[in-house]
C-alpha cells in the first residue's frame, strides 16, 4: 500500500505537468463539444418537428444515421476518410465534430419529446392571445420544455465527458492520451498508478459535471419550487447570525 502511494507521488511529481495539461485539454474538448452538441440537438430537434416535410425527413434520416453508427466510426470517418474527398480536419476538430454529431443526434430526441410533452392547453392559450408561432415557441413552449430537458442533457453530458477519451485514438493530447504516453515511456512500470490516476480524475470530473448539471436543473425549474431555499441562501443565513 505504501509502495503504491509512493509510486503515485513520484509519478505525479515527474509527470504531473503532462497529466494536468491532458486534463485541461479534456475539459476544453468537453466544453467545445458540449456547445456544438446542444446546437445540433436543438436544431435537429426542431427540424424533426417542422411542418415542412423535406426538412423533417432530412432531420430524421440524419438522426437515424448518427445514432446507428458509433462515435468511434464517425470519428475515424471524419479524420481518416474525409481527407480522401478533400476535407482535411485536424484531430481536435474531428473529435469535436464527431462527438457533437453523434451525441447531438441522441439529444435531439430529448428536445423533440420534451417539446411535444408541453400540455396542449398552453398552445391554446398562446393562440388565444394571438402570439405568432415563433412567439409561442420562444416564450411559452420552449421555457417549459427545457425543465424536462435538463436532466436528460445532464446524463448525456456525463456520457460526453467519458466519450472524450475516444479522442486519444486519433492522438488528441487529452487525458487518456497523456496516460498512454506516460505508460509507454515508462514501459508500463507504473501502469497501475497511471491508469488509476486517470480513472480518479475522470471520476472527479464526472461528479463535477453532475453537480453543475443539478444546479442548472434546479435554477431552470425555479418556478416549480418557488419556496425552496437554495443551499447558498441557507449558508448565508447561518453565517450572518
Amino acid at each position: 500500500m505504501i509502495d503504491f502511494l509512493l509510486s503515485i507521488q513520484s509519478l505525479v511529481q515527474t509527470w504531473g505537468g503532462l497529466l494536468l495539461r491532458g486534463a485541461i485539454e479534456t475539459c476544453r474538448l468537453f466544453a467545445m463539444t458540449l456547445v456544438l452538441e446542444l446546437t445540433v440537438a436543438i436544431v435537429m430537434g426542431l427540424a424533426r418537428l417542422s411542418r415542412i416535410t423535406p426538412i423533417r425527413v432530412f432531420a430524421n434520416i440524419f438522426v437515424e444515421i448518427f445514432r446507428g453508427v458509433s462515435s468511434y466510426v464517425t470519428l475515424f470517418w471524419l479524420y481518416f476518410a474525409l481527407p480522401m474527398i478533400g476535407i482535411s480536419l485536424g484531430a481536435l476538430e474531428a473529435a469535436v465534430f464527431a462527438l457533437a454529431l453523434v451525441h447531438g443526434a441522441y439529444a435531439s430526441e430529448y428536445v423533440r419529446s420534451t417539446l411535444l410533452a408541453v400540455p396542449k392547453g398552453q398552445i391554446d392559450a398562446s393562440i388565444a392571445l394571438n402570439m405568432t408561432r415563433f412567439q409561442r415557441m420562444r416564450y411559452v413552449v420552449f421555457p417549459q420544455a427545457i425543465v424536462a430537458m435538463m436532466p436528460l442533457f445532464g446524463n448525456d453530458a456525463i456520457m460526453l465527458l467519458k466519450a472524450t477519451s475516444l479522442a486519444s485514438l486519433i492522438a488528441v493530447p487529452e487525458l487518456t492520451e497523456a496516460g498512454l504516453a506516460i505508460n509507454g515511456t515508462t514501459y508500463s512500470a507504473n501502469a497501475f498508478a497511471v491508469f488509476t490516476i486517470l480513472l480518479i480524475v475522470y471520476f472527479v470530473l464526472s461528479q463535477a459535471v453532475a453537480l453543475a448539471m443539478r444546479m442548472i436543473e434546479a435554477r431552470v425549474a425555479h418556478w416549480k419550487f418557488p419556496n425552496r431555499v437554495s443551499p447558498f441562501k441557507t449558508l448565508k443565513m447561518l453565517v450572518s447570525r
Binding site: 392547453g121 392559450a125 393562440i127 388565444a128 392571445l129 412567439q135 421555457p143 425543465v147 418556478w223
Partner: protein
C-alpha cells in the same frame, strides 16, 4: 374583405364540423348581437365548447360561414369552407378573448407577467405600459397582492381570475368563457363568478358563456341556447328556457341537471 357591419358581432351560418366521422357541429346557425350576453348549455359533447373554439380560431370547420365584427373568418365555397388568410385571421383573433376550463396559465411566469406578456409581445406595448395595464387588471380581479406569485402558488380560483385578467389585457370585444368554473372547488367558484358578474354588468363586452352553472347563467344572460348533438334545440330568454322549456329534450336535460 369586410362586409357592412350590422348589429350582429358574430354570425355563424350552416356551420358543420367533423372530427373524423363524428359530427360535432351540424348545420348550426347562430347570430350574436353586440354586447349581448349569451349562455350555451347542454350535455357533454353537444358542441358548445367547439363553437367557442371555432370562434377563437382554434378549430377548423368543414362547411358554413363564420364572421366576426364584419370580418369573414370562414367562407363557404363550392367544395367546403375556406378559412381566412393568416393576416386576416390574426386581425379577427385580436377581437376575441377566451378563458379556459383548465386555466392554461403559463406556469413559468408570475401572475403579473402572465397578464403583461401578450400585450408586450403581440400588441407591442412597452414593458412599462404592459405592466401598468397588468397591474390595473389584477386589481380589477382582486389579486393585486399576488402579482409576483407563480401559478403553482395560487389556488384554482385565483388562477382563473388571473386567466380572466390575461384575456382582458388584449382588450377584446368578445369574451368566451368555456366552463370556467367546472374545474374549481365549490368554495372558489364564487370568487370567479363575482368577477364575471362585474365584467358583465359594468363593462361593454359581448360574452359567450358555456356553463353548467344554471343559476348564474339565468342571472347574467340576455339569451340562452340549449344544444345537443351539435344542433341548437331551443333558444330564448333565460325565463323562457329555464322556467318554460318547450322542447322535451330541453326539459329532460334541465331536470337531470337540477337533480344533481
Amino acid at each position: 374583405m369586410t362586409n357592412v357591419t350590422d348589429n350582429n358581432i358574430i354570425t355563424m351560418k350552416s356551420v358543420t364540423k367533423r372530427y373524423g366521422s363524428l359530427k360535432v357541429l351540424e348545420d348550426l346557425t347562430l347570430d350574436v348581437a353586440r354586447n349581448e350576453h349569451l349562455s350555451l348549455i347542454g350535455p357533454s359533447g353537444s358542441g358548445k365548447s367547439t363553437i367557442l373554439r371555432v370562434l377563437m380560431t382554434l378549430e377548423a370547420i368543414q362547411a358554413g360561414d363564420v364572421s366576426i365584427d364584419g370580418d369573414s373568418l370562414w367562407r363557404q365555397g363550392p367544395e367546403g369552407s375556406t378559412g381566412a388568410k393568416e393576416a386576416d385571421s390574426r386581425r379577427i383573433r385580436q377581437k376575441v378573448g377566451m378563458v379556459f376550463q383548465s386555466f392554461n396559465l403559463f406556469p413559468h411566469m408570475t401572475a403579473i407577467r402572465n397578464v403583461a406578456e401578450a400585450p408586450m409581445r403581440v400588441l407591442k406595448l412597452s414593458r412599462a405600459e404592459a405592466y401598468e395595464r397588468a397591474k390595473e387588471l389584477l386589481k380589477l380581479v382582486g389579486l393585486s397582492a399576488r402579482e409576483d406569485h407563480y401559478p403553482i402558488q395560487l389556488s384554482g380560483g385565483q388562477q382563473q381570475r388571473v386567466a380572466i385578467a390575461r384575456a382582458l389585457a388584449m382588450q377584446p370585444k368578445v369574451l368566451l368563457f368555456d366552463e370556467v368554473t367546472s374545474a374549481l372547488d365549490p368554495e372558489t367558484v364564487g370568487e370567479v363568478l363575482n368577477v364575471i358578474r362585474h365584467l358583465a354588468k359594468e363593462f361593454e363586452f359581448t360574452i359567450l358563456f358555456v356553463t353548467h352553472q344554471m343559476g348564474f347563467a339565468k342571472e347574467i344572460s340576455d339569451r340562452v341556447c340549449f344544444l345537443e348533438g351539435g344542433r341548437i334545440i331551443e333558444q330564448g330568454t333565460p325565463e323562457q328556457i329555464f322556467d318554460n322549456p318547450r322542447e322535451a329534450r330541453t326539459q329532460a336535460f334541465l331536470k337531470a341537471v337540477l337533480e344533481s
